[in-house]
Amino acid sequence: MSNTSENPNPSSSSAKITLKTSDNELFEVEEAVAMKFCTVKQYFEDEKDNDVAARGSSTVIPLPNVHSAVLARLISYCKKLPQSNAVADNHEEEETKKKERKQYGTPGDLVDLISAANYLDFKEGLEFFNQALADHIQNKSVEYVRKFFGIKGDFEPHEEEKYREEYAWAFEGVDED
């Protein structure tokens, strides 16, 4: 069970699906991987209903909202998907997962991965990248988050002060690191 991309049905284990990205690159991916993307799965099922399935792997599924660089990363994440997305049950495991999430680097990359995972309806991926992004907000100062994500603080000082007072409890004793 270590290889999650292995298809339990041997007759279709070698089936490939072709995906076309926004920059017109073609990706030939294993069916088991492609089926993690519910949008693709849905497209495939709709096509089947229209009896176009006879064309099989020659069908090219267009993904006009996904760039090739992003799709490549999503597919590589998909291939090494852990067996279960169960909540880490000890501190050590959580730290390992946190390190793993850190690899997905720049805020721009994360936003692209999240948008693409959302468009593809790729649940595990979306959860993972959402958490990776949340890691950069958790226990961080407002200044850090603004700087890291390039958010421009556009409140007047007195406005910001007003909200800080209104939600004073939200700004008390947060352990920033």
Binding site: D109, V145, D154, Y167, W169
Partner: protein
């Protein structure tokens, strides 16, 4: 190429839906704190799908009045769209917070929230008991009864809220007809909240999608009887409902059943898929009759299909004629009431292990047991156990009898991979595990280490002492 500009703000371009999903991964104070990032972020948190207020975890030093104000503030400002989960855990028992609590629950029901948890327990500190509440919050009468104009009631509870909630009410009128008003609720959990028989009956008949019901520390509940309409319920947990006498339900989908409390008559009707059973005796029930016989009597017809079984440690004779637990994977014994562990007790436990041929994990949690003299004879092996891989022994003191038992398991569980020996006391509070200090822990740990050192290397490597 993917843009990698570091000074360009990309995150703010994500939809409210995605951003609020990300905020749901943060503690509530951090999520609300994002409102000052920029104007774009001002209201993002008001779309969050999950709200959790845990005073113990996130607001340990906040006064209960401030906590109440905070929750009401958030509930007032939240848009109430797609709120899947509302969990509130705090230990205030002042009646001036009660009108607030009414409103929080009303809000959740109006939002069509699937999971609602209200935990007002005083027992949440690690040290255990921290006093009886002077007054206990009770669900308003007929709150869950749509026939008694519950909608008007909820309206009434919400009337002090601002315009947001007015929008919510008008929306709810459109989306939730009175008939399916409670049909979104799937998981309800009340701890230290007074519910009476009628409340529970209203919940069972009106929350037509309810899959899980958890009621804990409630002394106003006497009897639950719901046998005419099959329930969708998959999980029912009744813990420490001290006044209970009868439980009679028709629940064909029930998979998990948990009961902790005094002896009652349990009639589960139409239940065919029960796989997870917990029946334990809280420390306080001293007059409890033989627990295991009682479990056997009421549940033996399910034993062959159970995968998880949690129960009390009892004297050996109680375990005679244990039916085969042919599918059991996890077996947990609690010794909260068992002040003395004797050889016969362990013989009883091993016979249950042996009656479970595919058991994967076994846990024994002893609690403040007194040393008893001598080991009183060796445990006799009834043949090797082929599948047992994990063992946890907590409350370990290194008594000869415990050493004998650990040795027996090492000798007989031929597939054993790990044996965890814990010297603290571990006990159950509802579904939560709590740890109590063993006041002689240094000595206990030393004994456990000595035991470990004395083993052959292949066995020594399996043992973890903590």
């Amino acid at each position: 190429k993917v843009k990698k500009s570091s000074d360009e703000d990309r995150i703010s371009g994500l939809s409210d839906d995605i951003l609020s999903e990300i905020l749901s991964l943060l503690a509530i104070k951090e999520a609300v704190g994002t409102c000052i990032f920029s104007k774009r972020w001002r209201y993002v948190w008001t779309f969050m799908h999950r709200l959790e207020f845990d005073s113990f975890k996130d607001f340990p030093s906040m006064k209960s009045d401030s906590f109440t104000q905070m929750v009401s503030q958030v509930v007032t400002l939240h848009k109430g769209l797609n709120l899947h989960e509302l969990r509130i855990l705090f230990n205030s028992h002042q009646d001036n917070s009660f009108p607030h609590i009414h409103r929080w629950i009303a809000f959740a029901i109006l939002c069509g929230t699937a999971r609602i948890e209200l935990n007002l327990s005083m027992f949440r500190l690690l040290s255990g008991f921290c006093g009886h509440p002077k007054v206990t919050y009770a669900i308003p009468p007929d709150f869950f009864d749509r026939k008694n104009k519950a909608v008007d009631d909820i309206d009434h509870y919400l009337k002090h809220l601002d315009s947001n909630s007015a929008i919510l009410i008008s929306r709810s009128g459109r989306h939730f007809g009175v008939d399916n008003f409670f049909s979104s609720v799937r998981d309800l959990s009340f701890t230290q909240v007074y519910l009476n028989d009628q409340d529970v009956e209203n919940i069972l008949s009106n929350c037509t999608s309810l899959e899980r019901l958890h009621v804990e520390t409630c002394s106003t509940l006497f009897s639950i009887k719901h046998v005419y309409h099959p329930l969708k319920l998959k999980c029912l947990e009744l813990f420490k409902c001290w006044s209970m006498t009868t439980l009679e339900i028709l629940a064909p989908n029930l998979v998990t059943f948990g009961y902790r409390g005094p002896k009652i008559n349990i009639f589960l009707k139409g239940v065919r898929h029960l796989v997870d059973l917990t029946v334990t005796t809280p420390l306080i029930c001293l007059d409890y009759p033989k627990g295991i016989s009682y479990v056997l009597d009421q549940f033996s017809c399910y034993f062959s299909q159970l995968k998880v079984l949690q129960m009390e440690v009892e004297a050996e004779k109680a375990y005679r004629n244990v039916p085969e637990l042919s599918n059991l994977k996890l077996l947990m014994f609690y010794g909260e009431k068992c002040s003395k562990i004797e050889n016969s007790t362990l013989i009883g436990i091993t016979s249950v292990i042996m009656a479970s041929p595919v058991l994967h994990r076994f846990e024994l949690h002893l609690f403040r047991h007194k040393p008893c003299t001598g080991s009183g004879g060796k445990l006799i092996s009834k043949g090797p156990h082929k599948y047992l891989k994990e063992v946890v022994l907590s409350g370990f003191k290194g008594l000869p009898i415990e050493i004998d038992f650990a040795t027996y398991l090492l000798d007989n569980a031929i597939a054993l991979e790990k044996m965890e020996i814990i010297t603290s006391y571990i006990y159950l509070l509802g579904r939560r595990w709590c740890v109590a200090e063993n006041n002689n822990e240094v000595h206990s740990r030393k004994q456990a280490q000595l035991f470990r050192e004395g083993l052959a290397s292949n066995n020594r490597s399996k043992i973890v002492v903590s």
